[in-house]
Every structure is written in C-alpha cells, then in structure tokens.
C-alpha cells in the first residue's frame, strides 16, 4: 500500500511540474497535466478500495524541522472512503480535461491550469490523509488557495473577480474557526497529532467541547456551504472551469463533511448532548430546502447545480444529524445507519454532481453560454452528453433505481426510526425533517425536469444551440465513467453498505453488517428487516421486464404500425422556439406559491404602438429573487467592517514619522509589560 501512496503523491508532483517543462508543444497541451493525474487518481482509487477492506489502519510520518509539525498520514476506513471519492471524481475530471482544455486555447495558460489542477487534487488528498493538526491546516489552506486561483481563471471578467474575492474571504473566515477548534484540542492534548486529539491527557471540559462543536460547525460548515454560510458557493463554483467546478462541488465540500465526522465522532469520541444532533439536523433540513428552492430560480445551469450542492449537503447532514441523535440516546445500531446513510449520499452526490457539472461544461463547450434560456433541442445534437446528463438528473432527483434514490431512502429510513427515541419532541421533529426532505426531493425533481427539459428537449432557442455539436471523445469518456459509477452505486448497495459499515462502525461502536441485507443478499434492509427493505436490482429488473411487457402488449394488439412524423400543433401557425415554455415560465407557479421565501421583484414595462393603446410594440420583463441572506446578514457586516476600516484610516496618515512614532510607542508599552 505504501507503494501505491508513493505513486499517488508522485503522480501529482509530476503533474504539477511537467506542464511547465513541456508547455511549448502546442498540440497536446493538456496531456502533460492529465496523464500524471490519471495515473495518480487511479492509484488513489485502488488505495481507497484497499483501505476500505483492510483491517488495520496504515500510518506513516516524516518529521519536520518545525516543532509541532510532522507530516504524519494515516489511512483508516474513513480516510480511505474519502480518498476513493476524491480519486474517482478526479479520474473522470482528468480524462475530461484532455478535451475540455481546448476551450481555453488562447484565453488562459493551459499549463498553469493543468499544474493547478494537479495541485488542487493533491491538496484535497493530503487533507484527508493528514494525521496531524498542523499538517491538516497546511493542506487545507493549500486546497483553499489553489481552488481560489482556479476560480479566478477567467479573471478578465468582473463577476469572476467578485466571486473569487467573496470565496477567498469566506474560506478564510472558515479557516480561522477551524484553527480555533484545533487550538482547543491542542490545549488539552498537548500536541497537534490527531492521536493526542483523540486521547487527550486531560479530558476536555464540557464547555470546551461545546465550543469545539460550534467552532467546527461554523468552520467546516463554511466550506461545506450550509445555510446561512452558503452564499459564496453559488458564485465561486460556477466561475471556475467546469471540470474544476465538478471537483469543487462534487468533492471539495465533502472534505468538510469528512472533517466534521472526524471531529465529532473521532476526536470528541461520539459523546454529545442531544441538541448537537438536533442543531445538525435542523441545519441540514434548512440547507436542503433552501438550497433546492434557490436552485429552482436559477437559469444559469452551473449556478443551478451549485445551489443543488447546498441542498445535498443538507441531505447528508440530515443523515449525520439523525445518527448523532441516536448516538446520544444509545441507539447505536440506528446511529450507524444514519451516519452510513449520510456517507452513502456523500459518495453518490460526489459522483452525480461531478457528472452534471461535466455535462454543463460540455454544454458550455458546445454553445458558449451558460444561460439555459439559450439552450434547447440539444439531445438530438449531443446524444452522448444528453444521455449522461439524464442519468445524472435522474440520480440527483432520487428516482429508483439510481444511487441518489438508495441513499435518500436510507436517510428516510433513519429519520423514520425516530419512534425509538424516548423524547417526544425529537420523535416529532425527525418525521418533520423527513417531510421537509420529501418536499426537497419533489422540488429537486421539478428542478431537474426544468434543467434537462429546457436544455435538451424541444426546439433550439438560439443560434448557438442550433449549431451545437457533440463534444470530443475524452469529454464523453469522463462523463460516461461517472454515469457508470452512478448506475453501479445504485444497483449494488448490497456491496456498498457493508463497506460503509466498516467505515462507520468504529465511531458508533456497533456494526450492523449482519442486519443490513435481506433476501439472500439481494435486498437492502434497515436494522430490522420487518421495518423496511429495498432491492434496487429487483426493481431495475422489474422496470425492464414491465417495459418489455408494454412493448409486447403493443405488438400483440396493434402490431407496431409505423409512426408518422408531423409538426407539433401550434394553434394554426408554425411552431417557433418563442412559443416554447421558458425556464422562467416553468417555475412561475413555484415562485408564486413560495413568494414569502423568494420575495420576488417583478418589473414589466410595456411600450405601446402610437396608433393604439391595445397593441404592444415591445415588452420588457425583469424578475429578481431577493438575496435575503446577503441583504440582511452579510451586507450589514460588510458595511460595519468597511466603516470600521474607514475610521482606522485616520491613524494611517501615510507619514513616515508618524509610523516611527507608533513603533516607538509600541516598544515602550511592550517593555513596560516585560518588566
């Protein structure tokens, strides 16, 4: 396994350096970056699978000259699981990049992008490998900075610069909280080694534990994009090149989930009061619902996908929160189930979100726009991209028998098992969270009907869409790989769940390996087979078989008469794309029903013909959704900081003498203290 680790890290190192050495060759520019990345991520996939199945964690370390810092790594099942997730998404993105980088010819330095891409993947890998707090923070900061550079790839655009700045500030606020969390552990543990965090010399006082819980939630939550700390995410993720967006939305936010589980269940030992789980659960439910609601109003395909990341982080946290509540009440089997459901959704979301972002990238590549209102009819022009995007859409809408459905089913089940909790308040809250999840699921379905239907179906709405062509083969392979993984994760939960059980069981203390399978291993069960079971392969077979039955009935009854093609009825005139339902129109009822959340502003200006007031010459329609969080939460803070900075400018007069005086005064004050 150590050899694989060397291949993994070496691959990334080569991938960072090689693009600069070979940047002169113009006609295979992306290969020097992609090839090492493919090797490294493949090694990562194998290493992750080995780590998931091996019984003993693998450790290794290099000491450094700095005190407190050792480059220690440790691969336990949790690390291995996230390593696998990163590497799978990274593999697809690397293959995809071979074709996609042509999009940046002459617009950005392909070699720099390639090196940053490798560095970004490497830093994420190091974060999950790290077994030392200091090392973790360094890797974390690298990950944040490298992703910032990737976000501002197209820095000539003002909105990209804004997105980058917003991201940079938010991520550093988050990092500050993470540093504070680690300092709390350091204080009692006496060392930055994770081993000392786990088993501190003096146990943490309860108050400190609570502070650590909250700090970690804010710090890692900022990266994960929980409401209300999500505001940067819909700006930053879409601004990056699409294969980077896929990694940021698919993988990077999951690293925060990794860290949360590490802190709560590993460092804090899985001992917490009930309200911790409750807070996580509520944040999860709110993030899920608001995420999907804002996604519905987006017509920029990549922003829409970014908001869905907020939603899915919410779903993951619902599973984890339920697990934490069960853990408090000693219902450890259910705690295992809840945590497992959260982790299953983590890898599922990583796969289908990466797939969808790659699909969005393909649309951008083919049409040069991200605005859904300019797409249309693309399924006929780009059948491969369309089919892959459809698989992603069906998965994220949680429809059987795909992977998204299986993990949402598990989350539902763990919420439904709440009737075992002895507390009546929580007994009612968990089903309510399930109801919110149901609403979230249904709205996500509506959103992906919109995303797929408006983009890929009917007539093209612009010349760009009319002239679109299928993307190059490497891009198709990248998408097809993820689509295949999605299908596999959906059909084979009976294999995945026991593996995830190995990840979770050490933290909750109870393994449910013997209780999660039914029907000779063909079906998945919750802890109690009588309570619930699900068999995706049987459902898939059933769907296939019954479709054939449908075909058979048709053939038997009428024979397959040749169908006739004719234009769509357009009320007597020829159908044009302007008659089609737009994305804005599609979500209008939803906007109206939930107007208290959206607080939309609609502006309709009509210019009439001079001859008559009854004939409109031109109409202008404008519609905005109120960015509530930005307006009421962030703007006041920004205004306060700006005002404070304005006041502080007084002492920064620009005079050298004054600055020397400051230094002098400071010195005297320090001397006074020293005495």
């Amino acid at each position: 396994m150590l050899n694989l680790l060397w291949i993994l890290l070496g691959g990334y190192a080569v991938g960072i350096l090689l693009p600069f050495c070979l940047s002169r060759r113009s006609n295979a520019q992306s290969l020097p970056a992609s090839t090492p990345a493919i090797v490294a991520t493949s090694a990562g996939v194998v290493l992750g699978l080995l780590g998931l199945t091996s019984s003993e964690p693998v450790t290794g370390s290099l000491t450094s000259t700095l005190p407190l810092l050792t480059f220690a790594i440790r691969i336990d099942p949790l690390t291995a699981f996230f390593l696998l997730t990163i590497s799978l998404a990274g593999l697809a993105a690397s293959i995809y990049a071979i074709g996609y980088m042509r999009h940046f010819d002459g617009r950005a330095s392909v070699s720099t992008l390639g090196a940053l891409f490798n560095g970004f993947l490497c830093s994420m890998t190091l974060v999950v490998l790290a077994d030392n707090g200091f090392f973790f923070l360094i890797a974390w900061e690298l990950m944040s900075l490298l992703s910032y550079f990737l976000v501002v790839t197209e820095h000539e655009k003002a909105e990209v610069r804004y997105a980058g700045l917003f991201y940079l500030i938010m991520t550093h606020v988050g990092t500050a909280f993470i540093i504070l969390t680690f300092f709390i552990f350091f204080q009692e543990g006496g060392s930055f080694a994770f081993e000392a965090f786990r088993y501190p010399e003096h146990p943490l006082p309860e108050g400190m534990k609570t502070i650590a819980f909250l700090m970690a939630l804010i710090g890692f939550g900022t990266k994960a994009g929980i409401v209300p700390l999500h505001v940067w995410l819909p700006y930053a993720h879409p601004a990056a090149p699409s294969h980077i967006s896929a990694l940021m939305s698919g993988v990077m936010i999951k690293i925060a989930i990794y860290a949360l589980i590490r802190v709560y269940f590993d460092f804090l030992g899985g001992q917490f009061p009930w309200w911790w789980g409750f807070v996580v659960l509520v944040i999860g439910a709110v993030s899920a619902l608001l995420g999907v609601m804002y996604a519905l109003m987006e017509h920029d395909l990549k922003s829409l996908l970014a908001y869905h990341s907020v939603e899915n982080i919410g779903i993951i946290l619902l599973g984890i929160g339920a697990g934490m509540i069960f853990q408090t009440y000693g219902l450890k089997e259910f705690a295992t189930l809840g945590l497992l459901a959260g982790l299953y959704h983590t890898i599922n979301h990583a796969m289908f979100k990466a797939l969808l972002f790659l699909g969005a990238g393909s649309l951008l590549y083919a049409t040069h726009t991200r605005n859904m209102e300019e797409y249309g009819g693309l399924l006929r022009r780009m059948p491969w991209t369309g089919a892959c995007f459809l698989i992603g859409a069906v998965s994220i809408a949680a429809l059987p028998p795909t992977n998204g459905f299986v993990s949402e089913w598990l989350v539902f089940q763990s919420l439904f098992l709440s009737f075992h909790i002895p507390d009546t308040f929580l007994k009612l809250i968990l089903p309510l969270a399930a109801a919110m999840l149901a609403l979230t699921g249904a709205l996500a379905l509506a959103c992906f009907v919109k995303a797929f239907g408006i983009s890929f179906l009917a007539l093209p709405r612009s010349t760009h869409a009319r002239q679109a062509e299928e993307v190059p083969i490497p891009m198709r392979i990248g998408m097809a790989l993820l689509a295949a993984v999605c299908v596999g994760l959906g059909l084979g939960p009976m294999v995945v769940v026991p593996l995830l059980n190995r990840v979770v069981a050490p933290f909750t203390g109870v393994s449910i390996e013997g209780q999660v399978l039914a029907l000779d291993g063909w079906a998945l069960a919750t802890v109690n087979v009588e309570f619930a079971s699900l068999s995706p392969p049987i459902l898939a077979l059933l769907l296939g078989g019954l479709s054939v039955l449908g075909l058979g009935i048709v053939a038997a009854c009428g024979g397959l008469v040749r169908k006739r093609y004719y234009k769509t009825w357009g009320c007597g005139i020829n159908l044009t794309p302007r008659m089609e339902y737009t994305a804005t129109g599609f979500v209008q009822p939803i906007k109206r029903v939930f107007s208290s959340i959206y607080q939309p502003t609609v502006k309709l200006e009509t210019e009439f013909l001079q001859e008559s007031q009854y004939f409109a010459k031109r109409r202008r329609f404008e519609f905005h959704v109120e960015p509530v969080f930005q307006r009421y939460l962030y703007d006041p803070v920004v205004a306060f900081v700006t005002a404070l900075a304005g006041r502080l400018r007084v002492i920064q007069a620009g005079s050298l003498h004054l600055y020397l005086a400051y230094i002098f005064v400071t010195l005297i004050v320090l001397l006074l203290f020293a005495v």
């Binding site: 009819g377 399924l379 006929r380 809408a397 949680a398 429809l399 059987p400 089913w409 539902f412 439904f416 009737f419 007994k427 089903p431 309510l432 109801a435 919110m436 999840l437 609403l439 699921g441 249904a442 379905l445 509506a446 009907v449 239907g453 179906l457 009917a458 039914a518 029907l519 079906a523 309570f531 619930a532 079971s533 699900l534 049987i538 059933l542 769907l543 078989g545 019954l546 479709s547 039955l549 449908g550 009935i553 009854c557 009428g558 008469v561 040749r562 169908k563 006739r564 093609y565 004719y566 769509t568 009825w569 357009g570 008659m579 089609e580 339902y581 129109g585 599609f586 939803i590 029903v593």
Partner: protein
C-alpha cells in the same frame, strides 16, 4: 419460487384488467349523477384497443424521450402496483421495496411525463409540466407524513407487513383517530396525485384548467393508450393502497385457492366502492383554482401532522 412467480403474474394481470374498469366506473357514476346514461363501464377497454391499433403521429421536434416515456411510465406505475398487496397480504415483491420505494417509483413516471410534456415544444405541454411540478411537489410532504403515521401503528414501512398485521388485527390502537386523520390526508394526496377533481379535471381539454391532459396533449395511438392505461393504473394503485391499508378485511393471508378467491372478490368490492365514492366526490366539488390547491394540500399536511401528534400523545 414458482408460487411467487405465479402470484406476480396474477397480480399484474389483475391490476392491468381492473384499472380501465375503475376509470369506466367513475365515469359512469358521474354520468348518472348528471342525469346522463353515460357510456358503458367497459368503454375504456374499447378505447384502449382502438388506440393501440391506430397509427401514432409523433411530433417531428421530439427526441427519443417522447417515445420512450409511455413505456417507462407504464412500467414504473405497474411496478409500483406490484409492491402493494392486492388480494394476498404477503405479496412476493413486497421485500423489493417498501412504501417509500412506491412513492418514488410513481415519481419516476411523473418525471418522464413532465419531460415529455416539454419535448414537443408547444406551450400546452410546458404549461402542463409546470403545473404538475408544483402539485407533485406540494403533495409529497403530506404523503410522507401520512405514510409515517400509518407505518407507526404497524411498526413497519413494508406494505405487506402493514397489511398483514392489520388484517390479523395486530397492533391496532384503541383510539383510531390518528389513523383516520392520516387516511383523510392520504385520500387528499391520492386525489391530487391522480389528477382528479378538485385538483385537476381528467375530462377537460381547456387550457386554463388542465394539468395532466396538457402534458399528454401530443400523444396519440399506442403511446396515448399506454399513457391512459398508466393513468388508470396509478389511480388503482392509490385506491388499493387506501383500501388495503385501512381495511384489509377479506384479503388472503395464505396461499390456499379458496382464500385467494375470497381475497380477489373482496378486493374488487372494496375498490369499486371507493371508486364510486371518488365519483361522488368529483360530482360534489368544482375544480379549484390552481393556486388554491395549495390550501387543500396544506390541509392534508396538517391532518397528517395532527395524526402523528395524536399518536404520540395517546400512546403517552
């Protein structure tokens, strides 16, 4: 194994045959209440056969989604039906998916139908899809809560277990009010999901009011036949769910032929009874404005929530 297979085939056949009959029955009840003689209850069969034989016209702007959707819709609805105990409480496929799987299988069909509505490119289809999206979204929370309230009493979300336990009078609470509230919610949900009055009107082709009919406006021939059949099946699945979960009396609890016969007869009686009730409801109410549907579905949600609270309060 062979028994199980025979049961699956039998259940498929029963569902396929009964579905058009229920549609015909509801139409007949409505016609009689409007002092019309109405078409025969077997008319839907004749419609299906005729549609299956006709040459379909397909819009030239559509993609493969449009022609694949009827098959997907048909298969997913029928698959959902196979998860529900119809005439025997231990239905063989019940372990393949519980009640949540059923809800999401139906959602799979809706997803593709909404896509097909958009595919032809006419405003009608898009309008239907858009409206279906809001109705489907709002029914979901009420459905999930009522399902949970029902599952609580039986201690299971597996439909067979729920039905089996209720049929053998196991785990019946002394006070049925939580159950009743959950059922009222489920009836509202069923009406909304299957596009009946007062949420949608299956008999209209007026653009201001239609939802389901707008989505399927471009379908013809065999595709329309499958879509119509699937719509009937969906209605039947919900009716079956309601009658067999609330009143599984007469349902076969063993594999004996006599028990199966009684189960089938009891099923037909119960489902027809409920269909007549739906027909009455449809005649008594006018269709609601689209944005008033929210209130109706909100009521369903509150009812289900009250059922849940009552359950815990009564149990202490």
């Amino acid at each position: 194994m062979l028994d199980a297979f025979a049961l699956i085939v039998m259940q498929t056949a029963v569902l396929l045959v009964v579905a058009p009959l229920i549609v015909g029955l509801i139409r007949k009840v409505k016609a009689r209440l409007q002092c019309r003689r109405g078409a025969s209850v077997f008319q839907p069969y004749a419609d299906l056969v005729k549609l299956l034989r006709k040459q379909p016209v397909v819009s030239s702007t559509t993609s493969w989604i449009f022609t694949a959707t009827p098959y997907i819709l048909f298969a997913s609805t029928l698959a959902a039906g196979l998860l529900v105990p119809v005439f025997i409480s231990r239905t063989p496929l019940s372990l393949a998916g519980n009640i949540i799987a059923l809800v999401y299988l139906l959602a799979l069909g809706t997803f593709f139908l909404m896509l097909a509505g958009l595919d032809a490119g006419s405003s009608f289809g898009g309008m239907g899809s858009s409206r279906e999206a809001i109705v489907a979204s709002l029914t979901e929370p009420a459905m999930m809560l009522s399902i949970f309230a029902i599952a609580l009493t039986a201690g299971s979300t597996n439909l067979s277990t729920i039905v089996h336990k209720t049929a053998l009078l196991q785990g019946i609470v002394t006070d049925p009010s939580p159950h009743l509230m959950a059922f009222a919610a489920l009836v509202i949900v069923a009406i909304a999901e299957t596009g009946r009055v007062p949420v949608d009107n299956p008999a209209t082709h007026l653009e201001l009011t239609m939802i389901h009919e707008a989505m399927i406006l471009e379908y013809s021939g065999r595709y329309l036949a499958l879509v119509e059949w699937a719509a009937g099946l969906k209605l039947l699945v919900f009716l079956t769910l309601i009658v067999n979960v609330s009143a599984p009396w007469g349902i076969a609890t063993s594999m004996e032929p006599a028990a199966l016969g009684i189960g089938l007869a009891a099923y037909l009686v119960k489902v027809s009874g409920l269909a007549v009730f739906i027909g009455l409801l449809e005649s008594m109410f006018a269709k609601l404005r689209l944005f008033r549907v929210t209130d109706l579905l909100g009521t369903a949600f509150i009812l289900a929530l009250l059922g849940l609270i009552f359950f815990y309060v009564l149990r202490g």
